[in-house]
Amino acid sequence: MLKHAVLALFLCLGSLTAAAAQEATPETTAAPDRSGTGGAQTLEDILARQRGEKIDDSFRRNATGDPDAAAAIAAQLGTLGGASDSEVYRALRYGSADVTVSNDGPASNVLIQDSGMRWLEFRQGPLATYGGYALLGMIVLLLLFYLLRGKIRIDGEKTGRKILRFSSIERFGHWLFAGSFLLLAFTGLIVFFGRKGLIPLLGKDAYAQLALISKWIHNNVAWAFMLGLVMITVMWLVHNIPNRHDLKWFAVAGGLFSKNVHPPARKFNGGQKIIFWSCVVLGVSISISGLSLLFPFELPMFAKTFVVLNDTPIPGWLGLGTLPEQMPPHQEMQLSQAWHAIVAFLFMAIIIAHIYLGSVGMEGAFDAMGSGEVEEQWAREHHGLWVKELEEKGKTATASGGQHSPAE
């Protein structure tokens, strides 16, 4: 599932950046004869564009008039200048017009920005479709898993003794991260699918209020998410460095699909390490793109990233050609939004599986983050090496409710 999700991520990025590359670096094909239209675009140009072919649009892009060719100011038609209305609008559309506006905000001199249509079509099309499929697909997979495997029970006999698995500060960091993640996920989905899914149900007025509240929550809870990310990364990084035991864990799929199979694991097993590193990598990526969105036009990152990527063979491997190294401010924001959403869908799909296994899917798992104390037998089955390490340190399990030595 994860492999397919990563593939989908690359495919989505590929389609988006290919579209961006198309605008910035059009491929040159044989120049058609435009003498019949006086140099303007021909029917073949229009048909080629409608077929989605890459065309060299420099004949339009550069046809923006020539102020020096204007008639003298006192001559007949002199006050009209050297550029026609069409040429002025063409210069505005291709971003080459010398624009002066009263608003001094960032990107305020961009009056026409047609890459926005590609962003809108991507957002309403493949992003919404495949993003929705990813979330629903994960839920269906988990339902199937539950029907086939049932709840994963503690195989051995329970001892009645408890081991402290996560300290208060660890649980605080986890829930800070998890609580903010859930709020961000729900509010993000409300904003993303609102027009299609909620306006027909609630009406525009009610949805407008909901969207406003969601936006406030999304923008401000993001800081708690980032703090939680820092906390869990600092606290658990050392425990999540891959080791040889993980190979044994993956060889039997962690025993998830069979009873009485318990591969050795220390504090975190192979599956939990996948979740941890997903949280760190996706969490950092979504935080950076989120900051770029939170501070409009202040933190453009895609052009710089593409410069670095173009020095590697990666764009070639993905069939993207040369990625655009310069782009208008709004396009930076659009790419940040698209990337933010792509990462969010992947992140949500992974976390749905984590929530399932950490709650209804596995007996005794929630205690680790609920009270912090887990049943000794559960710990021996899922984290046998960790229990041994504790015993070697003289930190043994105690009866429920009794005093215990800290696990860490």
Binding site: S102, N103, D104, G105, P106, S108, S168, R171, F172, G173, H174, W175, L176, G179, S180, L183, W216, I217, N219, N220, V221, A222, W223, A224, L227, G228, L294, F295, P296, F297, E298, M369, G370, S371, G372
Partner: protein, 41 residues
């Protein structure tokens, strides 16, 4: 469970504090895309 609810309370406190700080920093989309000569406020 006490820790979980404490963390959830911290999420709310951080969000309110972030809202106040961001408002004072003038980084809202509205603040960034208007100027005195455009009457959108």
């Amino acid at each position: 469970m006490k820790t979980m609810f404490l963390a959830f309370a911290a999420v709310i406190v951080i969000a309110i504090a972030a809202d106040q700080i961001l408002q004072r920093a003038g980084f809202s989309a509205a603040e960034r895309t208007i100027s005195d000569s455009v009457r959108l406020k």
